[in-house]
Symmetry: none
Amino acid sequence: MIGSINYYRNMNDDSFSFFWKGIIVKRNRPKFKQIIDAAVVVIAENGYHQAQVSKIAKQAGVADGTIYLYFKNKEDILISLFQEKMGTFVETIETELKQVKTASDKLLVLIQQHFAQLSEDTHLAIVTQLELRQSNKELRIKINDVLKGYLDLMEKIIQEGITEGEFSEELDKKLARQMIFGTIDETVTTWVMNEQKYNLNQLAKPIHHMMARACGSQIFEKKV
Amino acid sequence: MIGSINYYRNMNDDSFSFFWKGIIVKRNRPKFKQIIDAAVVVIAENGYHQAQVSKIAKQAGVADGTIYLYFKNKEDILISLFQEKMGTFVETIETELKQVKTASDKLLVLIQQHFAQLSEDTHLAIVTQLELRQSNKELRIKINDVLKGYLDLMEKIIQEGITEGEFSEELDKKLARQMIFGTIDETVTTWVMNEQKYNLNQLAKPIHHMMARACGSQIFEKKV
Amino acid sequence: MIGSINYYRNMNDDSFSFFWKGIIVKRNRPKFKQIIDAAVVVIAENGYHQAQVSKIAKQAGVADGTIYLYFKNKEDILISLFQEKMGTFVETIETELKQVKTASDKLLVLIQQHFAQLSEDTHLAIVTQLELRQSNKELRIKINDVLKGYLDLMEKIIQEGITEGEFSEELDKKLARQMIFGTIDETVTTWVMNEQKYNLNQLAKPIHHMMARACGSQIFEKKV
Amino acid sequence: MIGSINYYRNMNDDSFSFFWKGIIVKRNRPKFKQIIDAAVVVIAENGYHQAQVSKIAKQAGVADGTIYLYFKNKEDILISLFQEKMGTFVETIETELKQVKTASDKLLVLIQQHFAQLSEDTHLAIVTQLELRQSNKELRIKINDVLKGYLDLMEKIIQEGITEGEFSEELDKKLARQMIFGTIDETVTTWVMNEQKYNLNQLAKPIHHMMARACGSQIFEKKV
DNA sequence: CATGAATGAGATTTCATTCAT
DNA sequence: AATGAATGAAATCTCATTCAT
């Protein structure tokens, strides 16, 4: 996915169709990001079903019709939103991961970064945890495509842990990834639904503790 | 919640208000369940936003207006659906749990039962994992109220495991519950989104394995 | 109209069809009046558009279906209501008029009685002045038929006044009747819309004063 | 009220809120009046309850949705209709009144203009006398607010008559106004219900005669 | 490039009336 | 005679998208 997220931004390939070039150019224009940021605010503050195109346009300071110069339709705004934000999100995590060695530590950094980034942008947290899930099945499948890069990253860490002997060799990679993502996701959702009353970041360590143990890491076990 | 789910069914108390009696009577009439079952089918096959009241009525074999003799409005159908199904769901799990001793085993039975029940009723699985999440925030809050009973049950098992020395005494109950529910939920959702291609039930054991280890259970650790 | 209002009640004529006899018999049964009185209360308290048949049935203490044993349809309730109440209303005024000699005095008694009867039954006042006017054109035409007897009574008094030399011989009977009814009606409506805050009865004399002068009566003119 | 009716049309005041400016701009666009005129025709020809928004839109030559760019909801069409038409109605009468001196003559002109304007626009007459009265209480209260300006105008004339010694000094202003409006209104309603068979305009003089006498004007009294 | 007025399809809910018991 | 559960037709309003300017 990381590829797919960075797709448009890194692209220099002349062989792409004129159509896509048009879109690529648009993605670099200031109004593109302006509209996406407006969408995040409007959805977070009004909820998914009350986030009309006209509201997003007003928040972005453009006319309704202008939206359609940058996005194919409303769904495209939401997918692009997810791509943009998720792209940055995963990029940041990947950068941080480079400074870490063991799989267990990478897991910790991933969880910490996940929490940190959503803690810092509660609008985005509300949108991704609550509002965007109200979209229809079709859109959620597309969102899952975007998410796939992040899930792959998790699976890579797990594989590394198994290979390096940190994690149990019987571990089912796919299930472990579903556990890690499911746990992180449920934790953030609960935090958002509780109106961010408590500090999300301090949950990273105990959650990492559970995840590592679940993966068969022995580092937390009491030495006799 | 378990109480609240069983609320109407077990009630014999004459002191309840006329209003509630009216509703209770309706809940016990055959058409009530008939409409709910129709709603599950229609939502699963058409998607949340394409599940018009008229479709549900037709599927249930009643007139559109009849729906409104049993339900306040469309949202009420969905809440009642969740209450009825979740009620049976949790009741079944509770019954099975009575035959089990240790917290770890209870966790296994819970996961197995969770998977078994949704495996057996894929319509219901689709509705709870994908479609009902498209409902608006207000409805989701009501659904969460119903869910709370299930989450409490999980927490009770965790507490028991800690008390009995099966689970680590440092375990954060609330986080552990979020992990268990998040993991199970993500697993089922992935399975539904993959169109139930594989056997969900056989995932119960490996997932239980991870959960138990995450909780600090030693039963899976290799004896040296 | 007075005839038409008393129509059913005074009827002994064997030549009427079986159908009508059925209705006549019904009109004398207690539930007939019971339902009409319920309708007055329900309409006054809930408004015309919130006066559902089921509400009237509940207020009358009968089943919905029972209404249709006594009335052809909902409109028939309202027409019957108007006939019953208007019949009594006009009968009472006619009785009082018998004790009065001059046209001017008859006018005064009519106005006084009109006000007195509506003052005493504010439910009825609300229904006739505000709520029943929301009915559709067709029903209002039928109501006007019932009203006709009352209007005829007014015209008779005016004619008498002209014949006896009390009123101007140039007076247009029909217009004078429209003035009298229009004035009384507007006065009562204003009173009802002001939530019966003031005493309606004490308006009878000044209004009569104006009506009599308008008719050319000299009795109030200052003697030089 | 006269002010309130002219409110939007005369306004040049920059200090008004953005919201109201939006509405004012809409009120001056051609489609606003186009829709109102369509509403008058549709309501007159189909009756209040058969005047669906889609019929009004079709008659106005716009899409259903366009209605909602100019009116908050269906009720708002009706209120605006009444405001627009009543505004013009009262303005016209006020203009004509400027050329008249005595209160009695003003009363005559008022009645003549009232009849003339409704005679010339029978659609409007049907709507105001019959159809709009079927609206619910809430709407009728709003209509009454609009009407208030007209009633105030009547009261002003009456007051003038009293002050100038034309009318009896014992005259109750409020009752006199209720008489005048009630009489005019009843006359027009009767005329409309008789399907405008006769000439309404020629009733102005005899009605004025009665009204003036009722107010104590001596001008019609035979000089001995 | 940008605008924003106009479009029009589509669904929930109410309630008078019926009719089997 | 009385019941009351069931019926089903019908209409307002929203909002994503377009296109003339």
